[in-house]
Symmetry: C2
Subunit: 353 residues, 2 copies
């Protein structure tokens, strides 16, 4: 067959729009259409935190995330060890968001040929640190040269059929909860990139170190995700691109709307001192900063207190009610003075330049 | 904990060598040491075509391969559709090399923000083509922007416990066999990159089209791999980096040596006419060109004829004996005049610049 004279594929749109006019979410929707076709065994395909496929009495979770130098990180602001750790942790977070446990990882890494081997050894040391912490094993991958560092991780995980929680089950009346505090990772990034002398001194403070650690060593909420699932979470995801954008995704997949009470949003307390040395708005970072890797879940009202006490007792992790699921669509936020406004789904869009 | 003042890790070498002094294989050996620790359930980790993990009565195969613009392909010489197809096929080939069947894929793709959406739609059309051809499903992944196109694919597959064949089982006296013909993919690349007018005319010839198709649409030998496994292959791998380099890997993992008879190497017949318009040595491309994605296997002598007739009858694929496994180590090649020389493990090294 002559592959170079293929007829036009009737399944493909004749005049596709330009990429710059699409958001990442719109592209994911396009991609779902192109890849199409259901396969036996696939419980959940493209578009959630991870995919779910049948495996006997359990489900296998499959997820992948890429970190690209110059897009997701700069070598000046993250150590090789932290970068390796983070590449695993952000993938584990997607498994946690399904209520599962990570099992096996594949790490594909590309780096310039002038890369120092000591740096690479530290990178894989960080990968090993995270694998040990999350009780999983990196079993393979690929290595290549490139002109920038690229880390592409794929992970498998496991979850019982009853234990899996997707983005799609939230019901009107469910309470919206988030683990931990928000905005610290984005604050850490702002601090690392700040040039002022005052900001540089702040890196040595407790709050400065806390913000930087949140950015370079995010903790995946594996135990918390399983506990929320067991307590009856109806929908769950990790907050990787900011509460505002990620909540809009959860609502879209569940076919519901939501209201967020601004006064309840758990803003990282370390953002207060940061705002004195770097021009940031703590609430804006908490709503749209991204990379928090905390969990966002919808839960029946009568399950929240028990879930909160279990998270506090087992993991020392807070669980905060931030609002409620509503019928309809769209996400609104109620400000401190009671005014309600649409919560724009602003956040980290991987397609924006 | 202050992540930025971590003590030196006692498991890491104090003075690691420079990266440029390492081959890809040497780095894989380093990486195995760093990642270390065995995990229950892992049958085979870093270093083979793919990893094997326990899954009840079967084994799950896990593999990943990255294609990077400017390293593995140039946009001038491969269409989006072919690139998508190839990204899946080269991963399926790793599953085939274990004797397994592909199941689920994760595709992480990065591209410049000025990328034409029509190109992307064609890319995912090629991914869909390959998924359909190999009866597998792409269930997720990641998308990002980058300054070059990066395609990172991870694949799961399945194989029965009795059916899995690694690189490590070859025994002295086993015959060495390869499927199909070698060198066509490297020939296609040379042809695509040639500038001479004569070479450009050759692209329209049957042999020219055959070479180009071998390069941009390699076929993964899934059925052939399962048949070779069932016929008693003791070791198997796919030829992605050239027969010479890949055979040296199979021998190292099996703890054996090998002899290759040069006159038996199945050189792609399309390389003859290519050599008249582009300065290439067909035998050199067959031995070291890479990207053939044919299978290389070791088999007991009395199983080869049956395997060859099955491959011919079921798939129309040839199986050629090219030599034999020996005790000891090192690979030698016997030239047409009977002289024996070491077969240097030259081929595609992803670390070379």
């Amino acid at each position: 067959m002559d592959e170079h004279q293929r007829p036009v594929d009737p399944h493909l749109p004749a005049t596709p729009p330009d990429l710059p006019s699409l958001s990442e979410d719109e592209w994911v929707a396009e991609m779902r259409k192109i890849l199409g076709g259901e396969m036996p065994g696939v419980r959940l395909g493209v578009g959630d935190d991870a995919a779910l496929v049948d495996a006997g009495d359990r489900l296998v979770i499959l997820t992948a995330d890429m970190l690209i130098e110059g897009v997701h990180f700069r070598l000046e602001t993250i150590s090789a060890r932290d970068l390796g750790y983070k590449a695993i942790a952000v993938n584990v977070s997607d498994v946690a968001a399904m209520g599962g446990s990570p099992r096996y990882g594949l790490v594909s890494a590309a780096f310039p040929s002038h890369t120092d081997l000591g740096w690479l050894v530290e990178l894989y040391g960080g990968i090993r640190d995270a694998s040990a912490e999350y009780a999983m094993a990196v079993v393979g991958g690929d290595t290549s040269r490139a002109d920038r560092v690229v880390l592409s991780v794929a992970l498998t995980g496991e979850v019982t059929k009853a234990g899996a929680v997707t983005r799609a089950g939230a019901r009107p009346g469910d309470r919206l909860v988030v683990t931990g505090a928000l905005g610290a990772s984005a604050g850490g990034l702002r601090l690392a990139e700040a040039n002022a002398e005052e900001a540089r001194r702040a890196i040595a403070s407790d709050w400065g170190r806390h913000l930087l650690a949140a950015h370079v060593r995010p903790r995946a909420r594996v135990g918390e995700g399983q506990t929320l699932a067991a307590c009856g979470a109806t929908a769950m995801m990790d907050i990787s691109d900011g509460l505002a954008l990620d909540l809009s995704r959860l609502c879209r997949e569940s076919g519901v709307g939501a209201v967020v009470e601004q006064a309840r949003v758990p803003v990282s307390p370390s953002l207060g001192p940061l705002a004195e040395v770097v021009p940031i708005d703590p609430m804006e970072l908490a709503l749209s900063g991204g990379e928090d890797y905390e969990l966002l879940a919808a839960m029946p009202r009568d399950t929240v207190d028990l879930a909160a006490s279990k998270l506090r007792d087992r993991f020392g992790t807070s669980l905060t009610e931030v609002g409620e699921i509503r019928a309809g669509d769209g996400v609104v936020i109620v400000e401190a003075d009671g005014t309600e406004r649409p919560l724009e789904p602003a956040g980290w869009d991987h397609f924006a330049s």
